[in-house]
Each structure stands twice: as C-alpha cells, then as structure tokens.
Point group: none
Chain length 134, copies 4
DNA sequence: GTGGTCTAGACCACA
DNA sequence: GTGGTCTAGACCACA
C-alpha cells in the first residue's frame, strides 16, 4: 500500500484540471528533473510501469516521454528504457522564457483589473518565499 | 472605411498564438470594458460586422459574445444588439481570482527553474510600471 | 481516378520500406516545403483528407503533422487547419546537418569496402546532376 | 586486463545513437574483417567474453554474431567458437550495394536542401582523404 | 521487459 | 469540418 502510494507520488495528475494528461505528466517529470530529484543519467520509470501506477493509458505516457525526448530533457534507448539527459544546455533558460511569455499577458490583465504593482509583487513573494530562505 | 479601421482596432488577435480565437476576442473586449474605453450601455459592434471586418468566423464571434454575456459583462437585446452592462458587482474580483489561479502555477515553476523572488518581482514591476505613474 | 492519383501523389509512402509510415509522411511533406511546392502560409491537406487519400490511419498522419510542427516546419490552428511556417530560420541548415551526420558513417564504410574517392564522387554527381543544369 | 582492454577496443558503440546496438556491433566487427585486422580463420571473442567486457546483453551480441554468420562473414563451430570466414566471394560487393542504396536518398534530400554537387563532392573527399594517400 | 508503431474508434473544443 | 486527446489493443524490434 505504502509502496504504491510512493510510486504514485512520482506524478501528480488531475484528470479534471482541463489540462491534457500528457501535459501534466510532462510537467511533473520536468519538474523533478529541474529540481534535481531525477539526476542526469537516472532511469525513469518505464512507460508500462508509469501506466500501471497511474492508471493512465501507456500511449498517453508514451506521448509525454516522446515530447520530453524531442525537447531534450530525456533520451530513450529502445528496448532498455528512458534516461535523463545530462546538463541540457540552454534548456532551462528556454523553459523559463516560455513561462515568462505565459506570465506577461496575465500580469497585464491583472494590472488592468486595477491590481497594484505592490499587490502583484506581494503575490510573487508569497509563492516564492514558501520555500525560499532569505 | 475609417469606421472599419476603428472597429478592427478593437480586436487584437493572433491565430498562431495557440489560444483559441474566441478567448482572444473575449480578452480584447473585456479589456476595453475594464479600462473604460467601452462605457456602460455602449453598443458593441454586431456579430456580423465584427466577423466581416476581422475575417473571423461569425460562430467564433458569437461564442465570445455569448460567453461575455453569461459572465455578465454585456447583455444583448435580440434584434437590437449587444450592450455593455453597468458595473457588475464582483465581476472584476472574480476575474482577478481566475487570473491569480492561472498565475500561481507559472510562478511556482519559475521558482523551481531557479529564478529568484527578486527577479520575479522585477518582472512584475516592468509589466506594471509601463503604464503606472509612480 | 486521375484525381485520386494526383492527390495520392502528394505523398509517397512505401509500407514495406521498413521506415515508419509517419517518418515517410514527414519526409514527403518536408521535401515539398523545402523544394517550394508548398509555400509559406499555404494550407496543408487536412489530417482526415490525407488519411483518406493515402488509406493511412488519421492518428499516424496526425503524428507526422505534430512532429513537423514541433520541429518548426508547419503550424496548426486547431479547428482550422495546418499551414506552412514562414521562412523558418536555420531550419534548413539544421536538417542539412542531420543529413550530413547520416551520410558520413555510410561514406566511411564505403571507403573501407575499397570504394575509391573518385567512384564516390561520381556517385554524388549522378544523383545531383539528374536535376542540375550546369 | 590488457586483453580485456584490447577486446573492448574491438567494439565502438554508442547506445544513444539511435542505431540498435547489435547493428553497431555488426558494423564494428565487419569493419575489422574488411580492413584486415581480423584475418581469415581468426577466432573471434566468445559471446560471453564480449558481453562481459562491454557490459552489453549477451542476447544482443549473440544476435550480431548470428547475423554476421548468416551473411557469410563469420562461421561458428558449436562448442568451439566463431571464426572469420575466408574471402566470401561477392560479399563485399553486396554490402557496398546496400550502402549505396542507403546513400542515395540522403544525397537526394541534401540536393533538395540546396547543397551543390560541388559541396557534396567535397564532403566525400573529406571523408575519404582522411585515410587516403594520394 | 522495454520502447516504438499502427490501427480503430470515441469524444471534445473550436471555427 | 478541423485539429487534439485519450483509450484499447495488437504487433514488432531490441536488450
């Protein structure tokens, strides 16, 4: 029981979130790579394994893995498994740029709803300082 | 001709952005209402008119209008047209909450990419101060 | 009959070639983009259309399109269709590099089989001069 | 220990290259036969030995050996080991034909990317002249 | 066991 | 109609 939960905990997915499952899987795995939980050359759970523990169709897992591979986060050796790529240069920065692009229009609209810069910065601080130790 | 240009200017849409057109239309119109360009009881361009001047499918415009109506931003009088509702109480706040919900996961991931709280706050300031007069 | 053949001619696929179908589809389309048959902003045949004319499963076509999109050759507007991206900078060069990487080991082995540089160059000339007009 | 290193040096393999391991093993061994490093009647390392020194799955080595045998490059005497066949007539030519078949579509696509025949020939020369003594 | 391909078929959002 | 997601299930090559 505990084991299953632990394994399950590898990936957080909410079928009702509106976001496609494979995107959520990608996010989960990418997060673990970025945060160092998965290190370079670590073996990822196999497609079938993840499929079982998450009760998600293997094709969907596969799609997520394939995407992560083509983006350079992981590589797969057919017949052996999937592994975390080593130090993907510029990858993190590219991802950050993507996120900033998503952020800006939201900030703009928040601004136009009358939120003050001060309030917005406070919001940022709340999210960041939850784990930051200044 | 001039009118058309004005009307055209109402709506900023990028079909390649990935965001659905009707969402972009909604954003454009909502922005103009929030920022006061459109005042309470102002008449909006008709679906057909907007569709023609923007070369967007009328169904798409229709969908945007219906959404804005059901959210309370505008109301329609069948046979006459669509009009801006008067200051709908709580509407702005609800929208702001939605935006904050969208913002948080992006901030979290930015945090995990190693961005500092300081950098993130600076980002906010940049977006906000472009129109703010301190 | 003729029409069908013409439409079919859009894509050359050989199920017995060993190469995955979606790769062959990608190659066909990429070739047509590179050679200018498909111009920037041109609309590609819809997934379903290609699927019908080629008798290939829509999912397979979809996979090819998705790949081409993530590589930057095309972009898709959900609900409208797929279009050729404009002047993807560096894309052609990247593809050429890929091809050169595939070429080299083959040349090396040809060399070790005792083929002379002269013979190999002649081979190149044959392939190239079939369309070249010097 | 020295032996192991020598044996190891026999085989150059990159698991991340995308090419199946057994193909890479075949290429390595075939190259050594063609180039005369392995002479007719020489004994090849045993499957088990190669598997150990290279940390490659024995099944994979086995598959490579079986292939090379069925193509005529080597022969095996059960219980004794594998040996290089003597100058198999036409084998080299058949291999060369295979390589030419692989080469052509790549050259064609290179051509369509705008590479000139001259550039392509130069590429050939580079690869060939690295070992050629003109 | 492990990744990869392909098909069939359902269902959704969007235009 | 058009792209996109997801599942179920078969089958293959490879390790």
């Amino acid at each position: 029981m505990t084991t299953i939960q632990v394994v399950r905990a590898l990936i957080f997915v909410d079928p009702r979130s509106g976001k496609p499952l494979y995107e959520q899987i990608k996010s989960s795995l990418r997060d673990r790579i970025i945060s160092g939980v998965y290190q370079s050359e670590d073996k990822l759970p196999s497609v079938r394994e993840l499929a079982q523990t998450t009760a998600i169709n293997p094709n969907t897992i596969q799609k997520a893995y394939r995407d992560l591979e083509s983006e350079g986060w992981i590589y797969s050796i057919s017949g052996k498994g999937c592994y975390v790529s080593e130090a993907p240069p510029g990858l993190l920065e590219r991802r950050r740029d993507e996120l900033v692009c998503q952020l800006k229009p939201i900030l703009k609209e928040l601004h136009s709803t009358g939120m003050s810069a001060e309030e917005a910065r406070k919001l940022v601080s709340e999210v960041f300082e939850r784990t930051d130790t200044p």
